[in-house]
Symmetry: none
Subunit: 182 residues, 4 copies
DNA sequence: TATGAATGAGTCTTCATTCAT
DNA sequence: AATGAATGAAGACTCATTCAT
């Protein structure tokens, strides 16, 4: 009965994104294996988190690919990205708060993804679709923040998972205010 | 009365917001007192976090008062709230992440603050200023998410602290898209 | 199954009987295991003492069984009991001193053993062998007291362990005074 | 409001004889003073216990004096001693179990009192009143053991304090067995 | 390969004691 | 003289990790 790394990572992400101090024991139990086995598959706690990070990067990269960021107008691309990235929101939220990793700049993968996202916002600005008084870098951060808030709200049952894409994308694109032209 | 609880809590908030596993020793040292003294003032780690929660609630409540949420139009009130709440953003973000507390529903204080915030959004919708396709509850969550993202971005130096209020409030109110009427 | 709970308890009893403040570390070392392992087997100091109590109860109960309290005359039964119970005397003495446990009335096991002992004394009284001006309850307490004193005296080298049974049983049965009939 | 050392010692004895690990804080509170004040009057925990020891020695010595051990037959003297010593039983019991002191032989006072007690038993043996198959040293230990058991039984309400002298003295002198000549 | 058992390292917590008022 | 406050030292406890089966 080979252990399914993917499964373990998913469980780990679910737990760690809710409580950064979740113990190896809790993770192992949630994955249905023993602590020792968990250690056989991931050299240690750090390695597990590293793997989680890589897992998140990969899934987020896939979401970006699937969203075809370069096609059509920036707003449409952003909408597609929200839809594709939403399932990864939990992991992203964890990695977002797991600041040590970021501080160490351990993983160049993130920088690349951040860059792609920032590029999307910049394209929107250059094409005249997005406002320019909000920096593309800030919009990148805000994207993560809203995605995390959405994941959390859905998890807590405050927002219907069905509405999530719309809730996030529309807020991000149009803001709260009722706009005149509508 | 040499030890200032307020001071200790501020230091603790600063450290814990960045790393949830900060040890009691580190917190004590940052506050300029001994571990034993820290324990004299807060019965234990849990008690400290609980106190931090109460502290955050109180400061956020004060920010709400200072923002005079009921005066003027909802958008203006929201702008004022962002400005007043920004200094508390770090603590709020930590408490949000450290959600064990929330799960236990320990503190009714939060519910009350959430309600005030939701009421503001609802007022905006009723007065025709805010769009109604995004639920007031979701906007409440999104507010926290953006506030947290802003605090983090500023801490990481990706957004100038000086721009923070504007960045958060404008994104929240107007969204990314360049609106026609401007 | 390398660690033998029985062995650990025996060592713990030996140490704690002599010094109630013996540290977990000392106990662990005496048992030949690490502190962490000690904690793995006994959830904490309290749990260890609780286990010690159960252990003492069990051993004392076995001593009672072995002494066949109901057979022959009460005096003979008492002599047999002293002989069988003597090895447990140390633990019993500790548990008696460490009376927080008793105050909480945690363990009904004791009550049952006390009752058996009291019943023995009562039988002796009813059969005309034991005096009736000393209550059976008091004799029960006195039994423990003398057993403890004996264990202590032997440990301190003031009484030869070889004489212990005789010293305790004879004092209990016949008292100090030289009796006429002998 | 000068602190009454005697009062503090009495409270300390009461607590420590029930639980050897009673903290300085508990003792201070029981005595109605602060921890700091307790430390002003007794240089430290050890000093307090030392003082307690001396206090116990003194009171026990007085009890011996009052019992006039050398007068009349040994049995009568023993009866008087039990009566006089009974109020000190609690302290004695504590000091009896507080073995470290004994092991260190810190206090020659005890040795002297022990010697007086042993001498009484020896006198009884020499005068033909006490049996000689139980060593005087053992009888000394047994005396403490029974006194302690009595104090405890009375405290627990298992023996009426009124019966205590008789219960202890009679058991010690005559044992359990109904003697023929009575 | 998988795991129950064991442990070193480090954190939390408490206590006796000292200090400043 | 008395005490609230502060702390060093020491013990309890937990966790990530390793070992032996």
């Amino acid at each position: 009965m080979a252990v399914d790394r993917e499964h373990v990572l998913t469980e780990a992400a679910a737990l760690l994104s809710r409580r950064a101090t979740t113990s190896m024991d809790e993770i192992a139990r949630a994955a249905g294996i023993s602590r020792a086995t968990l250690h056989r598959h991931f050299a240690g706690r750090d390695a597990l988190i590293r793997a989680l990070e890589e897992h998140g990067i990969e899934r987020f990269a896939r979401a970006m690919d699937a969203a075809r960021l370069d096609e059509g107008d920036a707003a449409g691309a952003l909408r597609r990205l929200v839809r594709e990235a939403e399932p990864v929101a939990g992991v992203l939220a964890f990695l977002f708060t797991e600041n040590q990793l970021f501080e160490n700049g351990v993983n160049a993968g993130w920088a690349r993804l951040d860059a792609r996202l920032t590029a999307l916002f910049r394209r929107g600005q250059e094409e005249g679709d997005f406002r320019v008084d909000l920096s593309a870098v800030w919009l990148t951060e805000a994207f993560y923040g809203l995605l995390g808030a959405g994941a959390w709200a859905a998890h807590e049952g405050r927002v219907a998972r069905h509405d999530l894409d719309h809730s996030i994308a529309e807020l991000l694109l149009g803001g709260i205010r009722r706009s005149m032209e509508k």
